[in-house]
């Protein structure tokens, strides 16, 4: 072959490079064919001999070897197989042979078939180890727990040595054999046939679908060096639930752990439409046939009656209930103790609620390991977390108990243990039947009942002794326990005639717990003689003849019983006088004594006996050097101090009384040891703002001496009333005020002064508010001299009202105020000056004016009062004289046949009449009958009597020539423009007359004005002249007047005067009955007030 290869290869060296690539490919193809040819030749040679020797084993002891028979060898051909394994072994066999397992290493195997001989090298490494297919002995199911139980035999006896075996088990479900699970299970071969069990719990109830199980194995023999392979799968075995035709839901009433998953199925022949978990819809998982399942993930704790799972079919409904809960918690706070050493009570808390009740509730079992006894907790529904308890009967001669409390429910169990020496865990019952008996006035016996077998231990009991108004006292007593449960002790150191309340509790030694307190037992101890005499004091009566003995009742602790009476006696050097027995509650006695020295003795008596006597001397040592002092207390008491006096050999006595009470002054007294120099006097009777008198007595052998007299307050308050004050004297610039003292009861403190306020003001206007607010208009005087009772206020204004306020104050505050209004007197001098000065000034001014006027009289006359020609001299006019005399009759200004020389009308009048202030109705134009018809109230009557006629002599020469005169009307339109109609509507004024009309229309002459126009004016419905000139009074004596009394026409002005210039406005004269004030005359400048 090599030659051929070389021959083929050489020519290729002679071609160029491009050709070389093509030639190379060709050479490879040829080479391949050549190889195939050679292999075929070899194979053909092999096929003529036994070949392909293979060996497998299933038990490691026997190898099962096989080979391919040579071509032409018929069935049943015989082979001679020889194995060189130290011993030359030859076997005459057919095609296959089982040979014992060979030792590790190569072994030559010769197979002779006729003339052909095949030789093989056989090694263990070339052998495959394939275990036999396992066989399931049994497959069973526990439907209640959805558990499959598998049983098979490992056939370990066929294996020569121990080996590990891996079993692989597969679970298939439903008829289409869906693989649900493949799991492994490890065992060991031990040389013997062993039946193995394996269980598996399905997540789906086994009733829901058929379950299949298969198994295979893999033997891992560490010494076998060949190929190890899995066995074949066993035959499948199945479990199915033989259902009747009824629809059922699985599992039924299952208890599962909260948070776990569960599959619920409905085995039915009907089509399931809907599945509900509680109120939640669930997707259906279809199983074989119409069977369906639902899967619940992470289920939450169920309510008491469980979680309902419901499947709905066409016309029915099927369901089950699942109880999701927790396994029992470890019992907590397990405690075992005994009340009476007869029975042990163990208590515990269940811990976390299990959410399971009824038959699924946790059951408890308490077991004691030494005795092996157990007690079971009888199920009773108790509120969650309430303490459970179990009673365990104590065993004789056993003190130490090892308890184990086991809690169990369908989901699991837990336990708690406790080792206890029960004699150290005694919690006695509450003592009962407490009784008290007398021993004497200071001791009693106390007995009670305490159930229990305490004979072997000691008891520690506590007695609480309560006394009225006193802190309670606890006494501990240790006593030996007794069998009969009755206990008795003596309680001493009590007070006589005192109500005590006893109660008892007990524990044991060593201490564990106190029992509850027993019921209280009240008891009154018996009486004893009073321990001391009463505290006494004496006072001489006001007439000095009788001595009054006072004593205080003994306190309860001192009386030792009910005080029935007192015995008072007085003794002197010569005699002893005993008074009759004084029954309680009288606490004073009066004895008539002379001025000798006596010792007074007072003894208190109760039913048992008399107290030691209290003695006091009757004599009072005078003290000339006595001053009254002041003191203020601290609210609830008052501190009194004094200097130490060695002469005082017995107690000091301070007595006090209300200063406003009548004699004798004795509210209470207090005795202070002779070595004291101060004391605080306290009394419930002290009241703030009340003045008390305190008297300090020193005690000598002979008697008592008053050392100090003090008035004081425990607390000062502000006065309740204001000082009563009056005004003693008033002048133009001062007021003298006097006030009275405030009574002590209303002063309520030591008077420190007065505050006097005053300000200008009248009653009802000055309220003197904010006296302390620093108002600048209020003057304040602080009177700190309390002896001052008057005050003069100076620098006041005359004839002025003043508001006076007075208030008193103490250290306790300001008292109320009292006020008064006073008016100072008028200042006469000032008044006189005030009158004289203006008068003098007026006189001087008058004189000076008169002189000046006199000296300038000509000029004044010319200027202000020129001569006026007498109109009566005018023949043109004849006035009735009575015109201006107030007659209400019609006055007519009749025009005498006077021919004026000239009439000059100064008024410039347009064709449209403008507003005029006055209107003088021409007697020609005015018709009397019309005037009479006019209602007076419809026409303002204006009296117009021009008192002064200002003349303007336009042409003096012409005047003097007489004959002709000029009447000048001055248009006052320029002065009085009000009520004027707009000039744009002149025609309306004339014709319509709806607007304002001049108050007076002054026709200059009857000929000048058109009479028709006059008629039109009268007919107008608008404004009428306010003044009816017919009713005007010409009150001015200077006015020209008509002489015709029958005429109702009043003339105005004097058209026949010479040149005259006059304001034609009627005077506003209120006194004129016909005047409405609508007129005005020049005289107003002089007659009326400036304001008018």
């Amino acid at each position: 072959m090599m030659d051929i290869f070389l021959c083929l290869k050489q020519p290729s060296r002679m071609v160029d490079s491009k050709r070389m690539r093509m030639t190379s490919n060709f050479q490879w193809i040829l080479l391949t064919f050549l190889l195939l040819y050679l292999m075929n030749q070899v194979s053909s040679q092999k096929k003529r001999t036994p070949h392909d020797l293979k060996c497998v084993t299933n038990n490691l002891q026997v190898w099962d070897c096989s080979w391919r028979a040579p071509s032409g060898a018929g069935r049943g051909a015989a082979y001679e197989v020889c194995i060189e394994n130290g011993l030359h072994s030859c076997y005459r066999l057919e095609k296959n042979t089982k040979i014992p397992a060979l030792s590790p290493g190569d072994h030559e195997v010769t197979i002779n078939f006729g003339s052909s001989i095949s030789k093989f090298t056989l090694n263990e490494k070339d052998v495959s180890f394939i275990p036999d297919t396992p066989e399931i002995l049994n497959l069973s199911a526990d439907f209640s727990t959805s558990t499959l139980h598998l049983k098979w035999n490992d056939k370990g006896s066929v294996f020569p040595r121990h080996s590990n075996v891996i079993w692989e088990i597969k679970i298939l479900r439903k008829k289409n054999m869906e693989i649900v699970k493949i799991m492994t299970h490890n065992t060991t071969l031990n040389g013997k046939d062993t039946v193995h069990h394996w269980s598996w719990t399905s997540d789906m109830p086994l009733e829901c679908a058929t379950h299949y199980v298969g198994i295979r194995c893999y033997i891992d023999d560490p010494k076998f060096s060949g190929h190890k392979e899995w066995s074949n799968w066993s035959l499948l075995k199945n479990i199915s639930w033989s259902s009747d035709s009824q629809t059922k839901v699985f599992p039924q009433d299952k208890v599962i752990l909260v948070g776990s998953d569960i599959t619920v199925c409905c085995v039915t022949q009907e089509k399931v439409l809907l599945a509900l978990i509680g109120s939640t819809n669930c997707p259906l998982i279809h199983l074989d046939g119409e069977n369906v399942a639902i899967k619940i993930h992470n289920i939450s704790a169920s309510e008491s009656s469980g979680t309902n799972v419901v499947f709905s079919v066409e016309d029915n409904m099927f369901g089950t209930v699942i109880f999701a809960g927790y396994p029992p918690d470890i019992p907590q706070k397990l405690n075992c103790e005994t009340y009476d050493l007869k029975e042990i009570v163990c208590t515990w808390n269940p811990g976390r609620p299990t959410s399971l009740v009824g038959p699924r509730n946790t059951s408890y079992t308490l077991c004691e390991s030494f005795s092996g006894k157990c007690v079971r907790y009888k199920r009773a529904e108790v509120p969650t977390n309430e303490s459970y308890q179990l009673f365990f009967q104590m065993l004789s001669n056993q003190e130490i108990y090892n308890f184990t409390l086991n809690a169990r429910n369908p989901l699991g169990q837990s336990e708690s243990t406790l080792l206890v020496n029960v004699t150290e865990k005694v919690h006695p019952h509450t003592p009962t039947s407490v009784k008290v008996k007398d021993i004497n006035s200071t001791a009693v016996t106390l007995s009670w009942h305490l159930p229990g077998s305490f004979a072997k231990i000691k008891l520690l009991c506590q007695i609480e002794i309560n006394k009225t108004n006193s802190v309670h006292e606890l006494r501990n007593i240790t006593m030996k326990g007794v069998e009969n449960s009755s206990y008795l002790i003596a309680v001493d150191k009590l007070n006589p005639y005192t109500i005590y309340i006893f109660r008892i509790r007990c524990s044991t030694k060593p201490f564990w717990k106190w029992s509850k307190w027993s019921n209280e037992k009240q008891y009154l101890t018996t009486e004893a003689i009073p321990s001391k005499g009463p505290d006494t004091w004496r006072e001489w009566s006001s007439d000095g003849k009788n001595l009054i003995i006072y004593w205080k009742p003994l306190s309860i602790n001192e009386a030792n019983g009910k005080i029935l009476s007192y015995n008072v006696s007085c003794s002197s050097d010569e005699e002893t006088q005993s008074l009759s027995e004084i029954l309680d509650p009288q606490h004073k006695a009066e004895i008539q004594l002379d001025k000798n020295d006596y010792i007074i003795s007072v003894v208190a008596k109760n039913s048992v006996g008399s107290s030691p006597p209290s003695k006091i001397a009757s004599m009072e040592i005078p003290n000339d050097d006595l001053k009254i002092e002041q003191a203020v207390g601290m609210g609830n008491g008052i501190l009194l101090t004094w200097n130490y006096d060695p002469n005082m050999t017995c107690d000091y006595v301070i007595k006090w009384c209300n200063s406003s009470r009548s004699e004798p002054c004795l509210m209470d007294w207090k005795k202070v040891p002779s070595n004291s120099t101060e004391t605080v006097i306290e009394s419930d009777q002290f009241r703030p703002g009340v003045r008390y008198n305190f008297f300090l007595y020193g005690c000598r052998n002979q008697g008592y001496q008053l050392l100090r007299s003090i008035i004081g307050y425990v607390e000062e308050l502000a006065p309740t009333v204001a000082p009563n004050f009056t005004v003693e004297d008033t002048s133009a610039d001062s007021i003298l005020v006097r006030w009275e003292d405030i009574p002590v009861e209303e002063l309520r403190g030591f008077l420190r002064g007065y505050l006097f306020y005053f300000e200008k003001g009248e009653r009802d206007t000055s309220k003197m508010r904010g006296l302390e607010s620093g108002r600048s208009d209020i003057k304040v005087k602080n009177i700190t001299d309390i002896s001052q009772k008057t005050l003069r206020i100076v620098d006041l204004q005359g004839k002025t009202s003043y508001h006076l306020v007075l208030r008193a104050y103490t250290d306790g505050g300001m008292g109320p105020e009292k006020s008064m209004f006073v008016v100072t007197k008028e200042n006469s001098v000032g008044l006189i000056i005030a009158i004289l000065i203006p008068v003098a000034v007026a006189v001087i001014v008058g004189v000076v004016t008169s002189i000046l006027c006199y000296r300038k009289r000509e000029w004044i006359k010319e200027t202000f009062y020129p001569d006026i020609p007498n109109p009566e001299n005018c023949k043109a006019l004849q006035f009735q004289k009575s015109v201006c005399e107030g007659s209400s009759a019609l006055k007519t200004l009749e025009m005498n046949p006077c021919t004026p020389n000239n009439v000059e009308v100064l008024e410039t009048r347009s064709m449209v009449p403008k507003t005029e202030d006055t209107e003088i109705i021409s007697p020609v134009a005015e018709r009397p009958e019309d005037s009479s018809d006019v209602e007076p109230e419809n026409h303002v009557v204006v009296s117009y009597c021009p008192p002064v006629i200002e003349e303007e002599i336009a042409n003096p020469g012409a005047d003097e020539a007489g004959g002709a005169s000029q009447v000048i009307y001055i248009d006052i339109q320029s002065m009085y423009q009000p009520q004027a109609k707009p000039e744009e509507e002149p025609e309306n004024d004339l014709v319509g007359g709806a607007g304002y009309k001049p108050q007076m229309h002054l026709p200059v002459t009857s000929t000048v004005e058109d009479l028709a126009a006059e008629d039109d004016l009268d007919k107008t419905a608008g404004y009428r002249p306010q003044a009816n000139v017919n009713t005007w009074n010409l009150v001015s004596p200077d006015s020209p007047r008509s002489t015709d009394s029958n005429s109702e026409i009043v003339s105005f002005g004097s058209p026949c005067s010479t040149n005259s210039r006059q304001f034609l406005i009627p005077p506003k004269d209120e006194e004129s009955p016909k005047s409405s004030g609508g007129g005005w005359s020049f005289t107003n400048f002089f007659q009326n007030k400036p304001n008018d």
Binding site: G278, N308, M317, F318, P383
Partner: protein, 203 residues
């Protein structure tokens, strides 16, 4: 007639009152009792449903109506029967109901041990059903109708339902609901039947 629980006052006690008035009073009292118990039965049903969990309390939930041994719902033709016959059927049903209610109460005591009000209502209902049945029988006696007749044995019915109730919790809940419903139906039926006899009624 011996006095029994729930029986009405003996009308013979006051001979001065006419027997007719006594009968009227008896019917009126029994009718009032039935009306009261109808209200209680409604409350019992409501309380029962509340404690069974969803979907029992959901609107539209219509659980199966399993047959109750010895007791059926009032027949549709019940109203067409003569009044005494109706009352006889009422009395028979009311006699069967107390042991059934007792069985329901016992099962509920396991399921809802803390539902004291439900348990008390079930206990009271059994007693009240017994009292109403006795009162109806008294009315029948006063009417002169026969009170006897074939009727199911209460104890046997109770045993049957007890066996059914132990099958599973869900069927027990459904059965309890059925018993409570039957109780309401029969009490209200009795009220209606007595209303036919009561003064002012259609009869």
């Amino acid at each position: 007639m011996s006095r029994r629980e729930g029986s009405l006052e003996d009308p013979q006690a006051d001979s001065s009152v006419s027997p007719l008035l006594h009968l009227e009073a008896k019917i009126q009292q029994t009718h009032s009792l039935a009306r009261l118990l109808t209200k209680y039965a409604e409350q019992l049903l409501q309380e029962y449903v509340q404690h069974q969990g969803d979907p029992f309390g959901l609107p539209g939930f219509s659980p199966p109506r399993p047959p109750v041994a010895g007791l059926s719902a009032p027949a549709p033709g019940h109203a067409g029967l003569p009044v005494p016959e109706r009352l006889r059927l009422d009395a028979a049903a009311l006699a069967v109901l107390p042991p059934l209610l007792d069985v329901v109460r016992r099962r509920q005591a396991e399921l809802n041990p803390r539902a004291a009000r439900l348990l008390r209502r079930l206990e009271d209902s059994a007693r009240q059903a017994r009292a109403l049945g006795a009162a109806v029988e008294a009315v029948l006696g006063a009417l002169g109708a026969e009170t006897g007749g074939p009727r199911p044995e209460p104890a046997a019915a109770a045993a049957a339902i007890a066996a059914a109730a132990t099958g599973g919790v869900f069927p027990a809940k459904v059965l309890g609901l059925r018993v409570c419903s039957l109780y309401l139906e029969w009490v209200s039926r009795t009220e209606a039947d007595l209303g036919q006899l009561a003064p002012g009624g259609p009869a």
